[in-house]
Protein backbone atom coordinates (compact mmCIF):
# COMPACT_ATOMS: atom_id res chain seq x y z
CA UNK A 1 0.00 0.00 0.00
CA UNK A 2 2.77 2.37 -0.63
CA UNK A 3 2.45 3.85 -4.04
CA UNK A 4 0.16 6.07 -5.93
CA UNK A 5 -0.84 6.57 -9.45
CA UNK A 6 1.58 9.34 -10.00
CA UNK A 7 4.64 8.47 -8.06
CA UNK A 8 6.51 7.73 -11.21
CA UNK A 9 6.08 11.07 -12.83
CA UNK A 10 6.53 12.98 -9.64
CA UNK A 11 9.85 11.42 -9.00
CA UNK A 12 10.88 11.85 -12.57
CA UNK A 13 10.27 15.55 -12.67
CA UNK A 14 12.51 15.98 -9.66
CA UNK A 15 15.41 13.82 -10.64
CA UNK A 16 17.18 15.55 -13.50
CA UNK A 17 18.69 12.85 -15.63
CA UNK A 18 19.06 10.24 -12.91
CA UNK A 19 17.19 7.00 -13.43
CA UNK A 20 16.91 6.31 -9.72
CA UNK A 21 13.22 7.18 -9.74
CA UNK A 22 12.50 4.01 -11.63
CA UNK A 23 13.48 1.97 -8.61
CA UNK A 24 10.91 3.74 -6.50
CA UNK A 25 8.15 3.70 -9.03
CA UNK A 26 5.46 1.06 -9.24
CA UNK A 27 6.95 0.20 -12.61
CA UNK A 28 10.14 -1.06 -11.01
CA UNK A 29 8.99 -4.59 -10.33
CA UNK A 30 7.31 -5.24 -13.68
CA UNK A 31 10.41 -3.87 -15.38
CA UNK A 32 12.71 -6.04 -13.34
CA UNK A 33 10.50 -9.02 -14.15
CA UNK A 34 10.69 -8.15 -17.82
CA UNK A 35 14.45 -7.86 -17.76
CA UNK A 36 14.96 -11.07 -15.81
CA UNK A 37 12.69 -13.08 -18.08
CA UNK A 38 14.27 -11.57 -21.21
CA UNK A 39 17.77 -12.39 -20.06
CA UNK A 40 16.76 -15.96 -19.21
CA UNK A 41 15.17 -16.38 -22.60
CA UNK A 42 18.20 -14.83 -24.27
CA UNK A 43 20.41 -17.46 -22.68
CA UNK A 44 18.07 -20.30 -23.51
CA UNK A 45 17.59 -19.40 -27.13
CA UNK A 46 20.10 -17.66 -29.33
CA UNK A 47 17.47 -16.28 -31.68
CA UNK A 48 15.71 -14.45 -28.91
CA UNK A 49 17.58 -11.16 -29.10
CA UNK A 50 17.59 -10.81 -32.88
CA UNK A 51 15.86 -7.69 -34.18
CA UNK A 52 13.53 -9.79 -36.24
CA UNK A 53 12.48 -11.80 -33.23
CA UNK A 54 11.97 -8.71 -31.10
CA UNK A 55 9.69 -7.25 -33.76
CA UNK A 56 8.02 -10.63 -34.00
CA UNK A 57 7.31 -10.69 -30.24
CA UNK A 58 5.98 -7.16 -30.26
CA UNK A 59 3.72 -7.91 -33.19
CA UNK A 60 2.38 -10.96 -31.39
CA UNK A 61 1.84 -8.92 -28.26
CA UNK A 62 -0.08 -6.21 -30.07
CA UNK A 63 -3.56 -7.74 -29.95
CA UNK A 64 -3.60 -8.62 -26.26
CA UNK A 65 -1.67 -5.42 -25.60
CA UNK A 66 -4.40 -3.31 -27.18
CA UNK A 67 -7.15 -5.24 -25.38
CA UNK A 68 -5.29 -4.66 -22.12
CA UNK A 69 -5.51 -0.88 -22.53
CA UNK A 70 -9.28 -0.87 -22.15
CA UNK A 71 -8.99 -3.51 -19.46
CA UNK A 72 -6.68 -1.19 -17.51
CA UNK A 73 -9.24 1.60 -17.55
CA UNK A 74 -11.94 -0.77 -16.37
CA UNK A 75 -9.82 -2.38 -13.66
CA UNK A 76 -8.66 1.03 -12.41
CA UNK A 77 -12.29 1.85 -11.61
CA UNK A 78 -12.54 -1.42 -9.71
CA UNK A 79 -14.44 -3.25 -12.44
CA UNK A 80 -13.54 -6.01 -14.86
CA UNK A 81 -14.36 -6.74 -18.48
CA UNK A 82 -14.57 -10.41 -19.41
CA UNK A 83 -16.13 -9.63 -22.77
CA UNK A 84 -13.10 -8.15 -24.56
CA UNK A 85 -12.16 -11.29 -26.49
CA UNK A 86 -15.71 -11.97 -27.63
CA UNK A 87 -16.33 -8.33 -28.51
CA UNK A 88 -13.16 -8.31 -30.56
CA UNK A 89 -14.28 -11.42 -32.43
CA UNK A 90 -17.76 -10.07 -33.07
CA UNK A 91 -16.45 -6.70 -34.16
CA UNK A 92 -14.06 -8.33 -36.65
CA UNK A 93 -16.71 -10.72 -37.90
CA UNK A 94 -19.22 -7.99 -38.56
CA UNK A 95 -16.60 -5.79 -40.19
CA UNK A 96 -15.70 -8.65 -42.52
CA UNK A 97 -19.34 -9.50 -43.10
CA UNK A 98 -20.11 -5.98 -44.20
CA UNK A 99 -17.17 -5.94 -46.58
CA UNK A 100 -17.81 -9.40 -48.03
CA UNK A 101 -21.52 -10.14 -47.83
CA UNK A 102 -22.78 -6.61 -48.30
CA UNK A 103 -19.93 -5.69 -50.63
CA UNK A 104 -19.48 -2.30 -49.04
CA UNK A 105 -16.09 -0.55 -49.02
CA UNK A 106 -13.60 -1.70 -46.41
CA UNK A 107 -13.63 1.48 -44.39
CA UNK A 108 -17.36 1.18 -43.82
CA UNK A 109 -16.79 -2.31 -42.50
CA UNK A 110 -14.07 -1.10 -40.18
CA UNK A 111 -16.27 1.72 -38.93
CA UNK A 112 -19.11 -0.72 -38.35
CA UNK A 113 -16.72 -2.92 -36.39
CA UNK A 114 -15.75 0.04 -34.21
CA UNK A 115 -19.43 0.78 -33.75
CA UNK A 116 -20.11 -2.75 -32.60
CA UNK A 117 -17.27 -2.58 -30.07
CA UNK A 118 -18.25 0.78 -28.66
CA UNK A 119 -21.91 -0.22 -28.66
CA UNK A 120 -21.30 -3.35 -26.62
CA UNK A 121 -19.00 -1.38 -24.34
CA UNK A 122 -21.75 1.14 -23.75
CA UNK A 123 -24.15 -1.71 -23.09
CA UNK A 124 -21.77 -3.08 -20.44
CA UNK A 125 -21.32 0.37 -18.99
CA UNK A 126 -25.03 1.05 -18.70
CA UNK A 127 -25.64 -2.28 -17.00
CA UNK A 128 -22.83 -1.67 -14.53
CA UNK A 129 -23.32 2.04 -13.88
CA UNK A 130 -27.07 2.46 -13.98
CA UNK A 131 -28.15 -1.14 -13.54
CA UNK A 132 -25.79 -1.42 -10.56
CA UNK A 133 -24.98 -5.01 -11.49
CA UNK A 134 -21.61 -6.64 -10.80
CA UNK A 135 -19.21 -6.12 -13.70
CA UNK A 136 -18.00 -9.71 -13.66
CA UNK A 137 -21.52 -10.98 -14.36
CA UNK A 138 -22.52 -8.34 -16.84
CA UNK A 139 -19.45 -8.80 -18.96
CA UNK A 140 -19.66 -12.58 -18.66
CA UNK A 141 -23.17 -12.40 -20.09
CA UNK A 142 -22.02 -10.01 -22.79
CA UNK A 143 -19.27 -12.44 -23.65
CA UNK A 144 -21.83 -15.20 -24.24
CA UNK A 145 -24.12 -12.90 -26.17
CA UNK A 146 -21.34 -11.57 -28.41
CA UNK A 147 -20.01 -15.05 -29.15
CA UNK A 148 -23.44 -16.40 -29.94
CA UNK A 149 -24.21 -13.44 -32.10
CA UNK A 150 -20.97 -13.72 -34.05
CA UNK A 151 -21.63 -17.37 -34.80
CA UNK A 152 -25.23 -16.65 -35.73
CA UNK A 153 -24.21 -13.84 -38.03
CA UNK A 154 -21.55 -15.86 -39.80
CA UNK A 155 -23.32 -19.21 -39.60
CA UNK A 156 -20.20 -20.51 -37.92
CA UNK A 157 -18.05 -20.07 -41.00
CA UNK A 158 -15.15 -17.65 -41.02
CA UNK A 159 -15.81 -14.81 -43.43
CA UNK A 160 -12.99 -14.42 -45.93
CA UNK A 161 -12.50 -12.40 -49.07
CA UNK A 162 -12.00 -8.98 -47.56
CA UNK A 163 -10.12 -6.25 -49.48
CA UNK A 164 -6.45 -7.00 -49.45
CA UNK A 165 -5.36 -3.58 -48.16
CA UNK A 166 -6.83 -4.53 -44.79
CA UNK A 167 -3.87 -6.83 -44.33
CA UNK A 168 -1.72 -3.73 -43.91
CA UNK A 169 -3.11 -3.37 -40.39
CA UNK A 170 -2.00 -6.88 -39.52
CA UNK A 171 1.19 -7.52 -41.41
CA UNK A 172 2.26 -4.19 -42.86
CA UNK A 173 5.44 -2.44 -41.78
CA UNK A 174 6.65 1.13 -41.54
CA UNK A 175 10.41 0.88 -41.83
CA UNK A 176 11.19 -2.26 -39.94
CA UNK A 177 8.43 -1.73 -37.40
CA UNK A 178 5.22 -3.70 -37.90
CA UNK A 179 2.06 -1.60 -38.18
CA UNK A 180 0.29 -3.35 -35.26
CA UNK A 181 3.21 -2.42 -33.02
CA UNK A 182 2.95 1.21 -34.03
CA UNK A 183 -0.81 1.10 -33.48
CA UNK A 184 -0.26 -0.36 -30.03
CA UNK A 185 2.29 2.25 -29.06
CA UNK A 186 0.03 5.08 -30.24
CA UNK A 187 -2.90 3.68 -28.30
CA UNK A 188 -0.80 3.40 -25.15
CA UNK A 189 0.39 6.97 -25.58
CA UNK A 190 -3.17 8.22 -25.92
CA UNK A 191 -4.24 6.19 -22.91
CA UNK A 192 -1.37 7.65 -20.92
CA UNK A 193 -2.44 11.19 -21.75
CA UNK A 194 -6.04 10.37 -20.92
CA UNK A 195 -5.18 8.82 -17.57
CA UNK A 196 -2.44 11.15 -16.39
CA UNK A 197 -3.22 14.46 -17.97
CA UNK A 198 -6.97 14.87 -18.07
CA UNK A 199 -9.67 15.30 -15.44
CA UNK A 200 -11.32 12.18 -16.76
CA UNK A 201 -8.22 10.17 -15.86
CA UNK A 202 -8.23 11.53 -12.31
CA UNK A 203 -11.86 10.50 -12.04
CA UNK A 204 -11.07 6.98 -13.18
CA UNK A 205 -8.51 6.65 -10.40
CA UNK A 206 -10.82 8.34 -7.91
CA UNK A 207 -13.65 5.89 -8.53
CA UNK A 208 -11.34 2.95 -8.01
CA UNK A 209 -9.97 4.53 -4.84
CA UNK A 210 -13.27 5.31 -3.19
CA UNK A 211 -16.35 5.44 -5.32
CA UNK A 212 -18.65 6.96 -2.74
CA UNK A 213 -16.19 9.72 -1.90
CA UNK A 214 -15.71 10.42 -5.58
CA UNK A 215 -19.44 10.68 -6.06
CA UNK A 216 -19.77 13.01 -3.10
CA UNK A 217 -17.01 15.19 -4.49
CA UNK A 218 -19.07 15.65 -7.60
CA UNK A 219 -17.49 13.13 -9.93
CA UNK A 220 -20.09 11.88 -12.37
CA UNK A 221 -19.32 8.33 -11.44
CA UNK A 222 -21.89 6.73 -13.67
CA UNK A 223 -20.74 8.61 -16.75
CA UNK A 224 -17.12 7.77 -16.01
CA UNK A 225 -17.95 4.11 -15.63
CA UNK A 226 -19.91 4.15 -18.83
CA UNK A 227 -16.89 5.74 -20.49
CA UNK A 228 -14.38 3.15 -19.28
CA UNK A 229 -16.48 0.28 -20.58
CA UNK A 230 -16.98 2.14 -23.83
CA UNK A 231 -13.21 2.63 -24.06
CA UNK A 232 -12.74 -1.05 -23.45
CA UNK A 233 -15.18 -1.79 -26.25
CA UNK A 234 -13.31 0.64 -28.47
CA UNK A 235 -9.90 -0.89 -27.81
CA UNK A 236 -11.44 -4.33 -28.39
CA UNK A 237 -12.52 -3.22 -31.81
CA UNK A 238 -9.11 -1.65 -32.51
CA UNK A 239 -7.67 -5.05 -31.66
CA UNK A 240 -10.23 -6.52 -34.03
CA UNK A 241 -8.83 -4.43 -36.90
CA UNK A 242 -5.33 -5.76 -36.27
CA UNK A 243 -6.70 -9.26 -35.89
CA UNK A 244 -8.68 -9.03 -39.11
CA UNK A 245 -5.57 -7.76 -40.85
CA UNK A 246 -3.57 -10.70 -39.55
CA UNK A 247 -6.19 -13.33 -40.32
CA UNK A 248 -7.56 -11.64 -43.46
CA UNK A 249 -10.96 -12.94 -42.43
CA UNK A 250 -13.68 -12.48 -39.84
CA UNK A 251 -13.39 -15.19 -37.22
CA UNK A 252 -16.35 -15.57 -34.87
CA UNK A 253 -14.31 -18.02 -32.76
CA UNK A 254 -11.21 -15.88 -32.41
CA UNK A 255 -9.91 -14.58 -29.13
CA UNK A 256 -11.29 -17.21 -26.80
CA UNK A 257 -9.58 -16.69 -23.47
CA UNK A 258 -7.91 -13.41 -24.49
CA UNK A 259 -9.72 -11.66 -21.66
CA UNK A 260 -7.67 -13.71 -19.24
CA UNK A 261 -4.42 -12.77 -20.98
CA UNK A 262 -5.44 -9.12 -20.91
CA UNK A 263 -6.23 -9.31 -17.20
CA UNK A 264 -2.94 -11.05 -16.56
CA UNK A 265 -1.10 -8.29 -18.44
CA UNK A 266 -2.80 -5.59 -16.38
CA UNK A 267 -2.08 -7.29 -13.09
CA UNK A 268 1.47 -8.25 -14.01
CA UNK A 269 1.93 -4.56 -14.79
CA UNK A 270 1.28 -3.73 -11.16
CA UNK A 271 -2.30 -2.48 -11.33
CA UNK A 272 -4.33 -3.38 -8.26
CA UNK A 273 -7.20 -5.66 -9.19
CA UNK A 274 -9.34 -3.75 -6.66
CA UNK A 275 -8.80 -0.54 -8.58
CA UNK A 276 -7.48 2.90 -7.81
CA UNK A 277 -3.79 2.21 -8.34
CA UNK A 278 -1.77 1.37 -11.42
CA UNK A 279 -0.07 2.77 -14.47
CA UNK A 280 -0.83 2.16 -18.11
CA UNK A 281 2.85 1.70 -18.87
CA UNK A 282 2.87 -1.16 -16.40
CA UNK A 283 0.23 -2.84 -18.52
CA UNK A 284 2.42 -2.51 -21.60
CA UNK A 285 5.28 -4.10 -19.71
CA UNK A 286 2.96 -6.84 -18.49
CA UNK A 287 1.72 -7.58 -21.99
CA UNK A 288 5.25 -7.74 -23.36
CA UNK A 289 6.28 -10.00 -20.49
CA UNK A 290 3.48 -12.41 -21.34
CA UNK A 291 4.41 -12.28 -25.03
CA UNK A 292 8.04 -13.02 -24.24
CA UNK A 293 7.00 -15.98 -22.15
CA UNK A 294 4.94 -17.39 -24.99
CA UNK A 295 7.59 -16.71 -27.59
CA UNK A 296 10.52 -17.87 -25.47
CA UNK A 297 8.89 -21.10 -24.43
CA UNK A 298 8.12 -21.77 -28.08
CA UNK A 299 11.67 -20.93 -29.15
CA UNK A 300 13.01 -23.23 -26.48
CA UNK A 301 10.85 -25.99 -27.89
CA UNK A 302 9.15 -26.70 -24.59
CA UNK A 303 6.34 -29.24 -24.68
CA UNK A 304 3.14 -27.23 -25.21
CA UNK A 305 1.44 -28.82 -22.21
CA UNK A 306 4.36 -27.91 -20.00
CA UNK A 307 4.20 -24.35 -21.31
CA UNK A 308 0.83 -23.86 -19.57
CA UNK A 309 2.27 -25.05 -16.31
CA UNK A 310 5.35 -22.85 -16.56
CA UNK A 311 3.33 -19.81 -17.58
CA UNK A 312 1.01 -20.28 -14.60
CA UNK A 313 3.90 -20.61 -12.19
CA UNK A 314 5.71 -17.56 -13.55
CA UNK A 315 2.57 -15.44 -13.32
CA UNK A 316 2.09 -16.54 -9.71
CA UNK A 317 5.69 -15.77 -8.91
CA UNK A 318 5.56 -12.35 -10.54
CA UNK A 319 2.38 -11.38 -8.73
CA UNK A 320 3.75 -12.70 -5.46
CA UNK A 321 6.89 -10.63 -5.70
CA UNK A 322 5.00 -7.56 -6.78
CA UNK A 323 2.06 -7.80 -4.44
CA UNK A 324 3.08 -5.04 -2.05
CA UNK A 325 3.14 -2.17 -4.54
Amino acid sequence: MSHNANTAETKKSGGGFSLGWILHSPLALPLIGLIVVSVLMGFASENFFSVSNIMNVLRQVSIVGILAVGMTFVILTGGIDLSVGAVMALSGTIAAGIMVNMELPGWIGLLAGLGVGVGLGIFNGIMVAWGRMPAIIVTLATMGIARGFGLLYSGGYPISGIPSWISWFGIGRIGIVPVPVIAMVVIYALAWVLLQRTPFGRHVYAIGGNELAAKLSGVKTQMVKLAVYAISGLTSSFAAIVLTGRLMSGQPNAGVGFELDAIAAVVLGGTAIAGGRGLILGTLIGAVLLGILNNGLNLMGINPYLQDVIKGLIILLAIYIGREW
Partner: protein
Protein backbone atom coordinates in the same frame (compact mmCIF):
# COMPACT_ATOMS: atom_id res chain seq x y z
CA UNK B 1 23.36 -23.33 -36.39
CA UNK B 2 23.89 -26.87 -37.60
CA UNK B 3 22.55 -27.92 -40.96
CA UNK B 4 20.31 -30.71 -39.73
CA UNK B 5 16.78 -30.87 -41.02
CA UNK B 6 14.35 -28.90 -38.90
CA UNK B 7 10.64 -29.68 -39.09
CA UNK B 8 7.93 -27.57 -37.49
CA UNK B 9 4.42 -28.79 -36.97
CA UNK B 10 1.58 -26.72 -35.59
CA UNK B 11 -1.56 -28.46 -34.41
CA UNK B 12 -5.00 -26.98 -34.06
CA UNK B 13 -5.32 -28.85 -30.77
CA UNK B 14 -3.37 -31.43 -28.89
CA UNK B 15 -5.85 -32.75 -26.40
CA UNK B 16 -7.38 -35.10 -28.89
CA UNK B 17 -5.91 -38.57 -29.49
CA UNK B 18 -6.26 -38.01 -33.21
CA UNK B 19 -3.68 -35.24 -33.23
CA UNK B 20 -1.59 -36.82 -30.51
CA UNK B 21 -1.12 -39.88 -32.68
CA UNK B 22 -0.15 -37.65 -35.61
CA UNK B 23 2.47 -36.12 -33.40
CA UNK B 24 3.76 -39.54 -32.39
CA UNK B 25 4.09 -40.61 -36.02
CA UNK B 26 5.97 -37.41 -36.76
CA UNK B 27 8.38 -37.96 -33.89
CA UNK B 28 9.11 -41.51 -35.08
CA UNK B 29 9.71 -40.39 -38.64
CA UNK B 30 11.91 -37.52 -37.53
CA UNK B 31 14.00 -39.83 -35.43
CA UNK B 32 14.65 -41.98 -38.47
CA UNK B 33 15.70 -38.90 -40.38
CA UNK B 34 17.74 -37.46 -37.56
CA UNK B 35 15.68 -34.28 -37.89
CA UNK B 36 14.86 -31.77 -35.19
CA UNK B 37 11.15 -31.21 -34.51
CA UNK B 38 9.31 -28.21 -33.09
CA UNK B 39 5.69 -28.69 -32.08
CA UNK B 40 3.07 -26.17 -31.04
CA UNK B 41 -0.53 -26.37 -29.92
CA UNK B 42 -2.88 -23.60 -31.07
CA UNK B 43 -5.74 -24.61 -28.83
CA UNK B 44 -8.23 -23.77 -31.60
CA UNK B 45 -7.05 -20.18 -31.72
CA UNK B 46 -5.93 -19.00 -35.20
CA UNK B 47 -4.25 -15.91 -33.87
CA UNK B 48 -2.14 -18.05 -31.57
CA UNK B 49 -1.43 -20.39 -34.44
CA UNK B 50 -0.06 -17.57 -36.55
CA UNK B 51 2.14 -16.53 -33.64
CA UNK B 52 3.30 -20.10 -33.26
CA UNK B 53 4.29 -20.24 -36.92
CA UNK B 54 6.09 -16.92 -36.61
CA UNK B 55 8.06 -18.29 -33.69
CA UNK B 56 8.97 -21.38 -35.70
CA UNK B 57 10.15 -19.28 -38.59
CA UNK B 58 12.42 -17.48 -36.13
CA UNK B 59 14.00 -20.87 -35.53
CA UNK B 60 14.72 -21.40 -39.22
CA UNK B 61 12.65 -24.49 -39.87
CA UNK B 62 12.92 -26.13 -43.28
CA UNK B 63 9.53 -27.78 -43.42
CA UNK B 64 6.27 -26.59 -41.96
CA UNK B 65 3.55 -29.16 -41.41
CA UNK B 66 0.45 -27.14 -40.89
CA UNK B 67 -2.71 -28.44 -39.32
CA UNK B 68 -4.73 -25.23 -39.57
CA UNK B 69 -7.43 -24.41 -37.08
CA UNK B 70 -8.92 -22.19 -39.74
CA UNK B 71 -8.16 -22.32 -43.42
CA UNK B 72 -8.67 -18.66 -44.23
CA UNK B 73 -7.22 -17.21 -41.07
CA UNK B 74 -3.91 -18.99 -41.38
CA UNK B 75 -3.12 -17.56 -44.78
CA UNK B 76 -0.80 -14.87 -43.44
CA UNK B 77 1.34 -17.53 -41.80
CA UNK B 78 1.52 -19.55 -45.00
CA UNK B 79 2.71 -16.51 -46.93
CA UNK B 80 5.26 -15.67 -44.32
CA UNK B 81 6.63 -19.19 -44.44
CA UNK B 82 6.83 -19.18 -48.21
CA UNK B 83 8.69 -15.86 -48.10
CA UNK B 84 11.33 -17.65 -46.09
CA UNK B 85 11.35 -20.55 -48.59
CA UNK B 86 9.94 -22.99 -46.11
CA UNK B 87 8.07 -25.95 -47.59
CA UNK B 88 4.48 -25.85 -46.38
CA UNK B 89 2.30 -28.94 -46.24
CA UNK B 90 -1.22 -28.68 -44.90
CA UNK B 91 -2.28 -31.75 -43.01
CA UNK B 92 -5.82 -32.86 -42.24
CA UNK B 93 -7.38 -29.53 -43.23
CA UNK B 94 -6.33 -27.30 -46.07
CA UNK B 95 -5.07 -23.75 -45.77
CA UNK B 96 -5.50 -20.78 -48.07
CA UNK B 97 -2.47 -19.32 -49.75
CA UNK B 98 0.49 -20.89 -51.55
CA UNK B 99 0.46 -24.24 -49.75
CA UNK B 100 2.75 -26.75 -51.48
CA UNK B 101 0.73 -29.83 -50.73
CA UNK B 102 -2.42 -30.69 -48.89
CA UNK B 103 -2.74 -34.12 -47.36
CA UNK B 104 -6.10 -34.88 -45.85
CA UNK B 105 -8.88 -37.35 -45.46
CA UNK B 106 -11.79 -37.48 -47.80
CA UNK B 107 -13.97 -35.87 -45.19
CA UNK B 108 -17.09 -35.63 -47.27
CA UNK B 109 -16.73 -39.31 -48.01
CA UNK B 110 -16.27 -40.07 -44.36
CA UNK B 111 -19.50 -38.34 -43.41
CA UNK B 112 -21.27 -39.96 -46.31
CA UNK B 113 -20.15 -43.48 -45.45
CA UNK B 114 -20.94 -43.18 -41.76
CA UNK B 115 -24.42 -41.93 -42.39
CA UNK B 116 -25.07 -44.46 -45.10
CA UNK B 117 -23.99 -47.18 -42.71
CA UNK B 118 -26.31 -45.75 -40.07
CA UNK B 119 -29.26 -45.53 -42.43
CA UNK B 120 -28.70 -49.09 -43.61
CA UNK B 121 -28.44 -50.32 -40.04
CA UNK B 122 -31.79 -48.70 -39.33
CA UNK B 123 -33.29 -50.44 -42.37
CA UNK B 124 -33.73 -47.09 -44.09
CA UNK B 125 -36.43 -46.03 -41.63
CA UNK B 126 -36.56 -43.67 -38.67
CA UNK B 127 -35.60 -40.40 -37.04
CA UNK B 128 -31.94 -39.44 -36.93
CA UNK B 129 -29.92 -36.55 -35.55
CA UNK B 130 -26.50 -35.02 -36.14
CA UNK B 131 -24.13 -34.11 -33.35
CA UNK B 132 -22.18 -31.26 -34.89
CA UNK B 133 -18.80 -29.89 -33.87
CA UNK B 134 -16.49 -26.92 -34.16
CA UNK B 135 -17.19 -25.20 -37.49
CA UNK B 136 -14.05 -25.87 -39.50
CA UNK B 137 -13.93 -27.11 -43.07
CA UNK B 138 -13.38 -30.85 -42.47
CA UNK B 139 -16.22 -30.98 -39.97
CA UNK B 140 -18.52 -29.01 -42.23
CA UNK B 141 -17.68 -31.41 -45.08
CA UNK B 142 -18.56 -34.43 -42.97
CA UNK B 143 -21.92 -32.94 -42.12
CA UNK B 144 -22.49 -32.19 -45.76
CA UNK B 145 -21.63 -35.77 -46.77
CA UNK B 146 -23.84 -37.10 -44.02
CA UNK B 147 -26.84 -35.10 -45.11
CA UNK B 148 -26.31 -36.26 -48.67
CA UNK B 149 -26.42 -39.86 -47.50
CA UNK B 150 -29.57 -39.38 -45.45
CA UNK B 151 -31.30 -37.80 -48.40
CA UNK B 152 -30.92 -40.98 -50.38
CA UNK B 153 -33.36 -42.70 -48.03
CA UNK B 154 -37.05 -41.97 -48.14
CA UNK B 155 -37.73 -43.20 -44.62
CA UNK B 156 -34.90 -41.39 -42.86
CA UNK B 157 -35.88 -38.14 -41.24
CA UNK B 158 -33.27 -35.74 -39.87
CA UNK B 159 -34.98 -34.26 -36.81
CA UNK B 160 -32.26 -32.43 -34.91
CA UNK B 161 -28.77 -30.95 -35.21
CA UNK B 162 -27.01 -29.86 -32.05
CA UNK B 163 -23.44 -28.89 -31.28
CA UNK B 164 -21.43 -31.08 -28.94
CA UNK B 165 -18.23 -29.12 -29.58
CA UNK B 166 -16.41 -32.43 -30.14
CA UNK B 167 -16.08 -32.56 -26.38
CA UNK B 168 -17.14 -35.64 -24.50
CA UNK B 169 -18.65 -33.88 -21.50
CA UNK B 170 -20.50 -31.28 -23.56
CA UNK B 171 -21.75 -33.89 -26.01
CA UNK B 172 -23.06 -36.04 -23.17
CA UNK B 173 -25.44 -33.35 -21.93
CA UNK B 174 -26.49 -32.30 -25.40
CA UNK B 175 -27.31 -35.84 -26.46
CA UNK B 176 -29.21 -36.53 -23.25
CA UNK B 177 -31.45 -33.62 -24.10
CA UNK B 178 -31.72 -34.73 -27.71
CA UNK B 179 -32.92 -38.14 -26.58
CA UNK B 180 -35.45 -36.54 -24.25
CA UNK B 181 -36.93 -34.32 -26.88
CA UNK B 182 -37.18 -36.94 -29.62
CA UNK B 183 -38.89 -39.99 -28.24
CA UNK B 184 -38.60 -41.79 -31.58
CA UNK B 185 -34.97 -41.05 -32.23
CA UNK B 186 -33.28 -44.09 -33.74
CA UNK B 187 -29.87 -42.97 -34.82
CA UNK B 188 -27.19 -40.35 -34.22
CA UNK B 189 -24.21 -39.36 -36.32
CA UNK B 190 -21.42 -37.62 -34.50
CA UNK B 191 -18.84 -35.63 -36.46
CA UNK B 192 -15.98 -37.15 -34.49
CA UNK B 193 -15.22 -39.86 -31.97
CA UNK B 194 -14.72 -37.47 -29.06
CA UNK B 195 -18.32 -36.34 -29.32
CA UNK B 196 -19.43 -39.89 -30.07
CA UNK B 197 -18.02 -41.19 -26.77
CA UNK B 198 -20.16 -38.65 -24.92
CA UNK B 199 -23.16 -39.57 -27.05
CA UNK B 200 -22.54 -43.24 -26.28
CA UNK B 201 -22.63 -42.56 -22.55
CA UNK B 202 -25.90 -40.68 -22.99
CA UNK B 203 -27.47 -43.48 -25.04
CA UNK B 204 -26.39 -46.13 -22.58
CA UNK B 205 -27.66 -44.02 -19.70
CA UNK B 206 -31.07 -43.67 -21.32
CA UNK B 207 -31.41 -47.39 -21.97
CA UNK B 208 -32.98 -46.68 -25.36
CA UNK B 209 -32.14 -48.42 -28.58
CA UNK B 210 -30.35 -45.75 -30.56
CA UNK B 211 -27.56 -46.47 -32.99
CA UNK B 212 -24.50 -44.30 -33.26
CA UNK B 213 -21.90 -43.76 -35.96
CA UNK B 214 -19.02 -41.40 -36.21
CA UNK B 215 -15.76 -40.48 -37.91
CA UNK B 216 -12.14 -40.93 -36.75
CA UNK B 217 -11.30 -44.44 -35.61
CA UNK B 218 -9.96 -43.45 -32.22
CA UNK B 219 -8.82 -46.37 -30.03
CA UNK B 220 -11.61 -45.88 -27.51
CA UNK B 221 -14.21 -45.75 -30.23
CA UNK B 222 -12.88 -48.85 -31.91
CA UNK B 223 -12.93 -50.69 -28.61
CA UNK B 224 -16.51 -49.62 -27.96
CA UNK B 225 -17.53 -50.86 -31.41
CA UNK B 226 -15.79 -54.16 -30.89
CA UNK B 227 -17.66 -54.59 -27.61
CA UNK B 228 -21.03 -54.50 -29.33
CA UNK B 229 -22.33 -51.27 -27.87
CA UNK B 230 -24.86 -48.97 -29.60
CA UNK B 231 -21.79 -47.42 -31.22
CA UNK B 232 -21.85 -49.45 -34.42
CA UNK B 233 -19.46 -47.79 -36.77
CA UNK B 234 -16.76 -45.21 -37.17
CA UNK B 235 -15.29 -44.18 -40.48
CA UNK B 236 -11.62 -44.30 -39.72
CA UNK B 237 -9.14 -41.72 -40.86
CA UNK B 238 -5.43 -42.38 -40.87
CA UNK B 239 -3.79 -39.58 -38.93
CA UNK B 240 -0.39 -41.25 -38.77
CA UNK B 241 -0.43 -41.88 -42.49
CA UNK B 242 -1.42 -38.30 -43.19
CA UNK B 243 1.70 -37.09 -41.43
CA UNK B 244 3.90 -39.71 -43.03
CA UNK B 245 2.64 -38.89 -46.49
CA UNK B 246 2.80 -35.17 -45.83
CA UNK B 247 6.37 -35.38 -44.64
CA UNK B 248 7.28 -37.50 -47.64
CA UNK B 249 5.83 -34.92 -50.00
CA UNK B 250 7.81 -32.20 -48.30
CA UNK B 251 11.02 -34.19 -48.42
CA UNK B 252 10.48 -35.00 -52.07
CA UNK B 253 10.18 -31.33 -52.80
CA UNK B 254 13.21 -30.53 -50.69
CA UNK B 255 15.20 -33.06 -52.66
CA UNK B 256 14.23 -31.32 -55.86
CA UNK B 257 11.08 -33.06 -57.07
CA UNK B 258 9.12 -30.67 -59.24
CA UNK B 259 5.86 -32.52 -59.79
CA UNK B 260 4.82 -33.09 -56.20
CA UNK B 261 1.05 -33.44 -56.12
CA UNK B 262 -0.71 -30.42 -54.75
CA UNK B 263 -3.34 -32.54 -53.08
CA UNK B 264 -3.13 -36.05 -51.69
CA UNK B 265 -6.50 -37.30 -50.54
CA UNK B 266 -6.20 -40.12 -48.03
CA UNK B 267 -8.86 -42.79 -48.07
CA UNK B 268 -11.12 -43.46 -45.19
CA UNK B 269 -12.30 -46.88 -44.08
CA UNK B 270 -15.43 -48.15 -42.43
CA UNK B 271 -14.69 -49.78 -39.07
CA UNK B 272 -17.53 -51.79 -37.61
CA UNK B 273 -18.00 -54.76 -35.30
CA UNK B 274 -16.56 -57.10 -37.94
CA UNK B 275 -13.16 -55.53 -38.39
CA UNK B 276 -12.81 -53.48 -35.25
CA UNK B 277 -10.73 -56.03 -33.41
CA UNK B 278 -7.94 -55.72 -35.99
CA UNK B 279 -8.01 -52.01 -36.51
CA UNK B 280 -5.73 -49.44 -35.00
CA UNK B 281 -4.27 -46.09 -36.10
Amino acid sequence: QDDGLKIGMTFQEMNNPYFVSMQEALMEAAEDLGAEVVITDAGHDVAKQISDVEDMLQQDIDILLLNPTDSAGIEAAVRMAKQQDVIVVAVDANANGPVDTFVGSKNRDAGYQSCKYLADALGGEGEVAILDGIPVVPILQRVEGCKAAFEEYEGIELVDTQNGRQDRSVALGVVENMIQSHQNLKGIFSVNDGGAMGALAAIQGSGRDIKLTSVDGAPEAVEAIANGTPFIETTAQFPRDQVRVGLAMALAQKWGARVVPSEVPIDVRVVDAENAADFSW
